[in-house]
């Protein structure tokens, strides 16, 4: 048997001699720093979830009907009459939310260890593009079940473009292909969700990885192993602190994959709606343009950005500032490699100011999620008394959080460009591994 495989291998190698070198470059001879910690699981997990979304998505497509008249019914058909349809759909819906969990943690890792800094700016930019496309992909996917929250969510989110002066109103109609989210909207969102955006995502992921493997991975110490001493057991010219990605990190990632899948399976089998966080109750009602849900809000992974829109007041007769603020909050993340001129990459050796600022930034993000999901309607009266004006408190809290969010970038620019940061000495070589 082994002989058959090696014969096939030889046969392929003779005809495509470039294949093995590519495999070696990216797997067995890609030398990754040996000190990756738990935060380094989320890249491979994101890839795993992407594959899950594509595979389960293909099977959903086989039974889904992208028409305003049939979409909602076809989802129930999948849930009840298609063999294992419920499992496929829950894997897809749970996967969507977990995609954002994984991506947010992956991004936080990048920020915390300065992985966006020189020479990895391109890796960061491509990653941010992936995040942007993923948001579009998730939004359009959310509209497809054509529940009432899908409908109203689509209406509200598309209406954001209506705040753009002069062309806004026409732009909204152009996007929806109708005056309201309707059949035309659903058809085009389906096309974009299942063909256009996944293709873009896959291309960007390939470029993200190619760019990463060109410069090499960062690590929790922020020490560039390529600049350290040379020579390891496998190659005298390669970094001493590097180990081959395969098999070392493939078997390590397998542990992360197992844990992640166990958590995912728990959700899929026991809490598929996760109490309304992953699948919202209002989406069990079919789309109805005459009945507005009590609260229109996006799914949790958009709520921080949605809260920014809500918290920025109208001025000069237009509400466009909130939308600009939302896009700005993402644009600033794109610009992070140039905003941060820090001499040191990893949080382990950065100044106290940076640590405090990053903590506040993360807390502000969670706070905005909290406000964006309207949880304040339940909790503010409990905390501050029944008679308070919730909207007023939302605005006070929310605006402080928006200021902290944007303040992080301003502070980081001043802190590093004006040389206020007092860093700790960075070791010559990576310090730990586990």
């Amino acid at each position: 048997m082994a002989n058959v495989f090696s014969n096939i291998g030889e046969w392929v190698s003779e005809r495509a001699p470039g294949l093995m070198p590519v495999y070696r470059k990216h797997m067995t001879e890609y030398y990754a720093p040996k000190n990756f910690n738990i935060w380094y699981y989320f890249g491979s997990l994101a890839l795993l979830v992407l594959v899950n979304q594509i595979v389960t998505g293909i099977f959903l497509t086989m039974n889904y009907d992208p028409s305003a008249a049939g979409a909602f019914d076809s989802v129930q058909y999948i849930m009840r009459d298609v063999e294992w349809g419920w499992l496929i759909r829950y894997m897809h819906s749970t996967g969507a939310s977990l995609f954002f969990v994984v991506i947010y943690l992956h991004m936080f890792r990048g920020i915390m260890y300065g992985s966006y800094q020189k020479p990895r700016e391109l890796v960061w930019l491509l990653g941010m593009l992936i995040f942007l496309v993923l948001m579009a992909e998730a939004f359009m996917g959310y509209v497809l079940p054509w529940g009432n929250m899908s409908f109203w969510g689509a209406k509200v989110i598309v209406s954001l473009f209506g705040t753009i002066p002069v062309i806004g109103k026409d732009l909204v109609e152009w996007i929806m292909g109708d005056y309201l989210p309707a059949d035309a909207t659903l058809n085009r969102f389906f096309a974009l969700h299942v063909i256009a955006l996944p293709l873009v995502l896959l291309l960007l992921v390939v470029l993200h990885l190619a760019a990463l493997h060109e410069v090499g991975s960062n690590n929790p110490d922020g020490v560039d192993v390529k600049h350290g001493p040379k020579g390891n057991r496998w190659d005298p010219t390669k970094p001493a602190d590097g180990i081959p990605f395969h098999p070392y990190y493939t078997v390590k990632d397998l542990v992360g994959v197992g844990l992640f899948l166990a958590i995912a399976a728990f959700i899929i089998f026991f809490q598929p709606t996760l109490g309304g966080w992953f699948l919202e109750h209002d989406n069990s009602v079919a789309a109805n343009n005459l009945v507005t849900p009590l609260q229109i809000k996006p799914v949790w992974y958009f709520t921080a950005f949605y809260a920014i829109v809500r918290m920025i007041p109208s001025a000069m007769g237009t509400a466009v500032w909130g939308v600009l603020g939302m896009f700005g909050s993402i644009a600033l993340l794109f610009a992070l490699p140039w905003i941060d001129a820090g001499k040191v990459k990893s949080i382990r050796y950065r100044g106290t100011g940076y640590k405090v600022a990053l903590t506040l930034f993360i807390l502000a993000f969670f706070g905005l999620v909290f406000i964006g999901t309207d949880l304040t309607d339940d909790y503010f009266p409990k905390w501050f008394g029944q008679d308070i004006d919730i909207t007023a408190w939302d605005n006070v809290f929310g605006r402080v959080l928006v200021l902290i969010y944007f303040g992080f970038f301003v502070f980081l620019w001043l802190y590093t460009h004006l040389g206020w940061e007092k860093t700790k000495p960075v070791p010559e070589r990576v310090t730990t591994h586990d």
Partner: protein, 246 residues
């Protein structure tokens, strides 16, 4: 390292459970206490539904055949006792009431209840069926504290009896508010029996909202255990491979 994995898992798990409880919305309703594993309760709930509810409400996504399979009933039992419309065994449950008439009778067609529990939650349905009271001001004679001015008459009155509101001592100028409901006449069932009957209906509707829940619970534990076992083996493999990394 294994300690760290376990603590990470525990943390993620804790966050998950926290998230599910935090999201409980709206005014807090008493728990319906439903249990999908209680097949007898599902059967009683189905029986009550087909005697008191199906006259107006359809379950347009629920097939008789699926119901028979999941509730441990035979084709004869379902077709003789629960099917009053001459539907085929493989058909879905469609009420006999013509939608146009329904619109005329109630001003609003009775909603399909296939996804009622998914949309509102079991506690809401349980509370709703406990909260009808006599209201002379309402055109149909009934009102409901959970869904004020509901267009629905109360078909279960012969079981529960008739409730009337007890008003809160009204401050001058305020609209009178209902403090609680009290039974004017006891129905055929005692209060405990009625609670159980309503719980059974809620349980049945919860099942109808997502029949796959029975399968989920059946397979779930084995899938999670398998994955935890897989993780442990992967961990041993990782340890073996990483022995020579210092």
């Amino acid at each position: 390292m294994i300690k760290r994995y376990i603590s990470t898992f525990a943390l993620a798990f804790g966050l998950l459970l926290g998230a599910t409880t935090v999201m409980a919305e709206g005014p807090e309703l008493p728990s319906a206490g439903t249990n999908l594993r209680d097949t007898a309760s599902l059967q009683r709930g189905a029986h009550l539904f087909f005697n008191y509810c199906v006259g107006c409400h359809s379950l347009k996504y629920m097939r008789y055949e699926r119901m028979a399979d999941d509730l441990g009933l035979t084709q004869e039992e379902v077709m003789n006792n629960l099917n009053f419309t001459g539907a085929k065994f493989g058909d879905t449950v469609i009420s006999h009431m013509p939608p146009d008439d329904a619109q005329k009778f109630f001003g609003k067609a009775p909603p399909d209840l296939s996804l009622e529990v998914s949309a509102k939650g079991p506690d809401w349905v349980f509370a709703y069926l406990n909260s009808f009271y006599l209201d002379p001001k309402s055109p149909i004679g009934w009102n409901n504290t959970v869904l004020p001015n509901a267009a629905m008459p109360f078909p279960l009155w012969e079981l529960q009896g008739e409730q009337v509101p007890v008003m809160k001592p009204a401050k001058p100028g305020d609209d009178p508010e209902i403090e609680k409901l009290t039974l004017l006449h006891q129905g055929k069932l005692t209060t405990e029996q009625y609670q159980q009957a309503v719980r059974d209906i809620t349980n049945f509707l919860e099942y109808v909202s997502e029949p796959a829940a029975l399968q989920r619970h059946h397979y779930g534990i084995w899938v999670v255990l398998f994955l935890l076992g897989f993780t442990f083996l992967a961990y041993l493999l990782k340890k073996e491979y990483w022995k020579d990394v210092h």
